[in-house]
């Protein structure tokens, strides 16, 4: 076998369903393969660890060519909720957990969960606003220290 990846640090910067899941699946998959993994939530990605918001992460119905419908339809009230509902149903059928369960599971695998200090300050959040699985609010410098010796993936 070739060279193995031993550690990944994944940055989640977007707050949409399609922006959050890939990073979660990659982090969880890294742990399942026996790699070390860290998740770093920044900017709108913070919604994925926000106690009141993580259950309401939605698919972007506008400006999303992957939706295969005119943006004009996407702007109608409730379109994002409908698209999200359809997607969540499909995920359930495929045994993909919802974000709250996924977060709990990822933390249980031993993956580190961190919030970006600059974004937390920008949005006026505090540690209490986040789910208990979030270990720390860290600076970009501290992120690089934690990521040292591994791969960094930005999503």
């Amino acid at each position: 076998m070739g060279e193995r990846i031993e550690k990944v640090s994944i940055i989640i910067s977007k707050g949409s369903l399609e922006g959050v899941y890939p990073g979660l699946i990659m982090a969880n998959g890294a742990r399942a393969e026996g790699m070390d993994a860290n998740l770093f939530f920044t900017f709108f990605g913070l919604d994925a660890i926000h106690k009141q918001r993580l259950e309401h992460i939605k698919v972007a119905a506008v400006g999303n060519p992957g939706m295969h419908m005119a943006s004009l339809i996407g702007v109608l009230p409730g379109m994002s909720a409908i698209a999200t509902h359809v997607m969540e149903k499909k995920m359930e059928q495929n045994d993909i957990p919802g974000i709250p369960e996924f977060m709990e599971m990822i933390a249980d695998t031993g993956c580190g969960l961190y919030a970006c200090k600059a974004s937390v300050d920008l949005f006026g959040f505090a540690k209490d606003d986040f789910i208990d699985q979030v270990q720390e609010i860290i600076t970009v410098g501290e992120f690089y220290e934690k990521a040292a010796g591994g791969e960094i993936i930005f999503t």
Binding site: G34, D95, D108, T109
Partner: protein
């Protein structure tokens, strides 16, 4: 594919060290495969997971993912990672002599 002598038997292994033929497996082989992965000794909790992997494979033709293991094996995910630090589903499948589970979650 390589052939290796494990616990006194000639066993065929694939490139990642998984048994090619799950019917060649026995408990002595499990102990030896675990030792090679740095897991020694195998506790009752390890065996609970290994036996669960075998029965799932026999029933469904594929090993469970970590999520399924955590929900149905009776061993929670946190403990699974303590028992098999280098990846529970993958390692337990290897030790249980079944193919590597291919689920993403």
């Amino acid at each position: 594919m390589t052939t290796d002598t494990i616990a006194g038997s000639e066993i065929q292994l694939d490139d990642e060290g998984f048994l090619v033929d799950p019917t060649q497996w026995n408990e002595d082989i499990a102990v030896e495969l675990a030792r090679r992965e740095g897991i020694e000794p195998l506790t009752d909790r390890h065996w609970q997971v290994i036996r669960f992997m075998r029965s799932e494979y026999e029933e469904k033709g594929t090993g469970p993912t970590v999520r399924v293991l955590g929900k149905t094996s009776g061993v929670p995910i946190k403990e699974l990672y303590q028992l098999f630090p280098k990846g529970p589903a993958k390692l337990a499948a290897k030790i249980a002599g079944i193919p590597k589970p291919r689920g993403c979650i």
